[in-house]
């Protein structure tokens, strides 16, 4: 209890409180910029911490981190541009809602779910840190593979009436994920001898291309839809009514837990959390067909999940000094530069790190809702700008975003090509969401599966695989995956047979 008050004391110092409000605004805006991922938002926040002490610095950076994940969801809903990779699934349902003129409602739902997910994870972090740490350590490559494969298994149910093309799109994504250096051996694969491809297909430029650029092309080719976006309807963020919120309460609970757990896993993070939450909720939903058409459930799931992952990511960082994800690694570097030795002794000697992080997370998630409402008001105004101006502006932002990921022009070309391919995909009724899913999860799936096989001993490859499936978590998750994968394909066949009878 003393701890908690000491943490709150740090956060509620007048200067620190103003700084946190500032951090939340900064984070939300950074998150909303395409290409500025949460990791980058935290990096951009580091210069502000040079004059702070270590505890304030982590409180400040955590606030930016949480807010940026939320900020990304706002542009995902309004412009179909996921500002951060983890808000890509939010576009599936958020953008259709915005097109129907319900942008305000979608934003409100997104904010409330984000805040609850974030706060839930913060509480978990404070109370369950030691247990969660143990859980994190017991997850190895094989478990990570199983979990990311589960995210992939949603492929067959993304668009059930067009299953063949969806699977092809997903497999194309997996193929793209193979391009570049072999993750374990470092040998170039499928690069056709050009050095542009050796670094592989970067996720962020492809995502920006497929979502933002494609959308601009579509709007240009068929400007009629635009009216729906810019048209009537209350456009400012509207907090959901109690009834609307109660309809997603179980989703929020489940995704908070799932998101936190995925957040603590090394190498997973918010992106996997949001994809997985979306797919898990679609599976469990009583009306899976509504997903993707613009329903609250489809916004609540990924947004709760990715914000819950932020709290999870802080657990191994603070309790072991092992960063759970890229953003956490950046925070760690900021602390190391301040002369803090990261490790299990950190929280023993200086428990205020944990309490300050918790307090900052909790408070910034609340401030975030209000900050985001203000920012959303401005964003929604942007929608009123004629598309002849807005479209090119989006392209400009997308270009900057693609360049900023790695400071290379190759990524800009990649973004442009992805945009065109995305447009063709839409014309030919291929599913670009499935492709992105394959690309994002493919890399993680592959490297973890192969590491797992290296680690699991077995005389033959088959024996190694069998050993893998014997691990309890891996085995169970994989069985669920198979069921999830096959069921949507088999179900219509069974239905047909019955009809024939």
């Amino acid at each position: 209890m003393e701890l908690l008050t000491s943490g709150l004391a740090v956060v509620f110092q007048p200067t620190m409180f103003i700084l946190i409000i500032f951090a939340v605004f900064l984070g939300t805006l950074f998150g909303a910029l395409p290409g500025v991922s949460a990791t980058m938002a935290v990096t951009l926040g580091i210069p502000f911490t040079y004059k702070m002490d270590a505890v304030s610095a982590i409180a400040f950076l955590v606030a930016i981190y949480c807010a940026s994940i939320t900020g990304g969801g706002m542009t995902a809903i309004l412009f179909k541009i996921p500002g951060v990779p983890s808000s890509a699934p939010t576009t599936y349902d958020g953008y259709p809602m915005a097109q129907r003129g319900e942008a305000g409602k979608a934003l409100g739902m997104q904010l409330v779910c984000s805040a609850i997910g974030g706060m839930f994870a913060a509480v978990c972090m404070l109370v369950l840190s030691p247990q969660l740490t143990q859980a994190a350590l017991s997850f190895g490559p094989s478990e990570l593979f199983a979990i990311s494969f589960m995210g992939l298994s949603i492929l067959t149910s993304l668009e059930t009436d067009n299953i063949c093309r969806t699977i092809i799109s997903g497999l194309l994504g997996l193929l793209l994920a193979c391009i570049g250096l072999d993750p374990l051996l470092g040998v170039p694969r499928l690069t056709f001898g050009t050095r542009f491809l050796t670094s592989g297909i970067e996720m962020i430029p492809v995502m920006i291309g497929f979502f933002a650029v494609t959308e601009v092309l579509k709007q240009t080719a068929k400007p009629s839809k635009l009216q729906a976006v810019g048209g009537s309807g209350n456009m400012s963020a509207k907090l959901p009514t109690l009834k609307e919120f109660l309809s997603v309460k179980w989703i929020v609970v489940r995704c908070s837990i799932l998101g936190t757990v995925i957040g603590i896993l090394p190498g997973a993070g918010a992106t996997i959390a949001s994809f997985l939450c979306y797919s898990a909720e679609q599976k469990m939903s009583k009306h899976p067909e509504k997903f993707g058409t613009g329903c609250f459930d489809g916004i609540a799931a990924p947004e709760t999940g990715n914000n819950a992952a932020t709290g999870g990511a802080m657990v191994p960082l603070l309790s072991l000094g092992i960063p759970g994800g890229n953003a956490a690694a950046i925070m760690m570097s900021a602390l190391v530069l301040k002369g803090v030795t990261m490790g299990p002794l950190l929280l023993v000697d200086q428990p205020q790190f944990l309490s300050a992080t918790f307090a900052s997370m909790f408070v910034s998630n609340i401030i975030m809702v209000f900050a985001a409402i203000v920012i959303a008001k401005v964003f929604v105004q942007i929608l009123k700008i004629p598309y002849s101006i807005l479209g090119p502006t989006i392209i400009m932002m997308a270009t900057i975003g693609a360049y900023a990921t790695k400071n290379t022009a190759v990524d800009v070309i990649l973004m442009a090509v992805s945009g065109l391919i995305g447009f063709l995909f839409a014309k030919c009724k291929f599913n670009s969401s499935a492709m992105i899913l394959g690309l994002v999860l493919g890399v993680i799936c592959e490297s973890n599966l192969r590491r797992a096989v290296t680690i699991a001993e077995g005389d033959t490859l088959f024996a190694a695989f069998a050993n893998l499936a014997m691990r309890p978590v891996t085995g169970i998750v994989l069985i669920v995956c198979v069921v999830v994968l096959v069921w949507p394909v088999v179900k219509p066949m069974i239905a047909k047979k019955k009809e024939n009878k």
């Binding site: 997850f139 050796t198 670094s199 090394p266 002794l345 008001k377 290379t408």
Partner: protein, 349 residues
């Protein structure tokens, strides 16, 4: 309406400001082009881009930022020295960038053994010899080998004994990919200890972090990594560091208690040297300028303080000496890789 316009405008300004911020922080708009080498007298006239071939927070990043910090705060270099991170593929992205900027006098990068290794193991076709101009070696860092504190192994010799009996009995993990730094660091020691079948020792690389948690979770048996990766967990007693790769014990509070490999009966050292490289065909005036500047910097108190803070051993070496050192080292690595990887090839046939 007016009010709305106001917020709109402010927002636009904010966005513009943010964009500038983002651009500045990410280092765009400072394209290092091969500008006309007007005359060496006035060099440097514009900002020199400092490349860290990895993301924020790693050894590369820390080295480059420290160098830039020391040079600008002491006023030794009058132009800005922006540090740009170019992560990817163990440094090959940065190496490629140097190759693109052939002949430029406004770009420098830091590299360590992987600059040789990524070429030798086939990750990239660029090499230090053809695509860079080595300017100076700055410092040496060391690696170490760690196990969980409940592990039966008390020193590195016991680990090697176990591997001598069965090379595949233990899984080694590290923070770099296979056939790169951490892997070789271990293999060098194993070879010196007389382990046979080096290619059969399972190695798992966790380039994106997580190697330490794999060790703690029991999925790898021995971790081969940098000292900064393990120091926190060693202090808390979760990990036991078996040996450091240096010739003598490190002069640092926590690491002093850790024996060297030599003390464990393995007569070998492994250096993680770091040096500054310019692009291929770097103009002579630029090379001379930087060699001199870095030599001066290596003597400053600022540099000394940072080195002791981060546990680096100062080890300055000028252009010619460094080039020679690289040739020798590269040959050493080549032979080693041939020996350990060659086995794998013949096995496959």
């Amino acid at each position: 309406m007016k009010v709305k316009m106001g917020t709109g405008m402010r927002k636009l300004k904010q966005t513009a400001l943010l964009l500038v911020l983002a651009a500045a922080a990410s280092g765009c708009g400072r394209e290092a082009e091969g500008t006309e080498p007007a005359s060496g007298d006035e060099y440097p006239r514009e900002a020199v881009e400092m490349i860290a071939p990895a993301g924020r927070g790693g050894g590369y990043d820390l080295t480059m930022r420290t160098v830039a910090q020391c040079l600008t705060s002491s006023g030794q270099v009058p132009v800005p020295l922006p540090v740009t991170n170019k992560p990817g593929d163990g440094g090959s992205v940065a190496l490629e960038y140097l190759a693109e900027n052939k002949g430029s006098d406004t770009v420098l990068s830091v590299f360590s053994p992987p600059i040789c290794l990524i070429n030798l193991n086939g990750t990239t076709s660029y090499s230090y010899k053809e695509n860079t101009t080595p300017v100076a070696k700055l410092l040496v860092d060391y690696g170490c080998f760690a196990v969980r504190s409940d592990s039966p192994y008390e020193d590195l010799g016991e680990v090697m004994e176990a591997l001598k009996e069965d090379p595949s009995s233990l899984t080694i993990g590290g923070t770099s990919s296979i056939w790169s730094m951490d892997h070789l660091q271990f293999l060098v020691m194993a070879r010196a200890a007389g382990v046979e079948g080096l290619d059969q020792i399972p190695y798992s690389g966790f380039e994106n972090g997580g190697a330490v948690s794999q060790l703690m979770g029991g999925r790898i048996d021995v971790l081969s990594a940098g000292i900064s990766d393990v120091v926190g967990l060693m202090e808390s007693g979760d990990l036991r560091v078996l040996a450091v790769t240096s010739g003598e014990r490190l002069d640092n509070e926590t690491m002093r208690s850790v024996p060297t490999c030599m003390e464990s009966g393995i007569d070998e050292v492994f250096f993680n040297w770091r040096g500054i490289f310019g692009p291929e065909d770097m103009p002579d005036y630029a090379l001379n300028y930087w060699e001199e500047t870095l030599e001066n910097m290596a003597r400053t108190e600022c540099w000394e303080e940072y080195c002791s803070q981060y546990g680096w051993t100062m080890d300055y070496m000028g252009h010619e000496e460094f080039e020679q050192f690289l040739d020798e080292t590269n040959e050493e690595y080549r032979l080693l890789l041939e020996e350990v990887m060659g086995g794998e090839d013949s096995q496959g046939e």
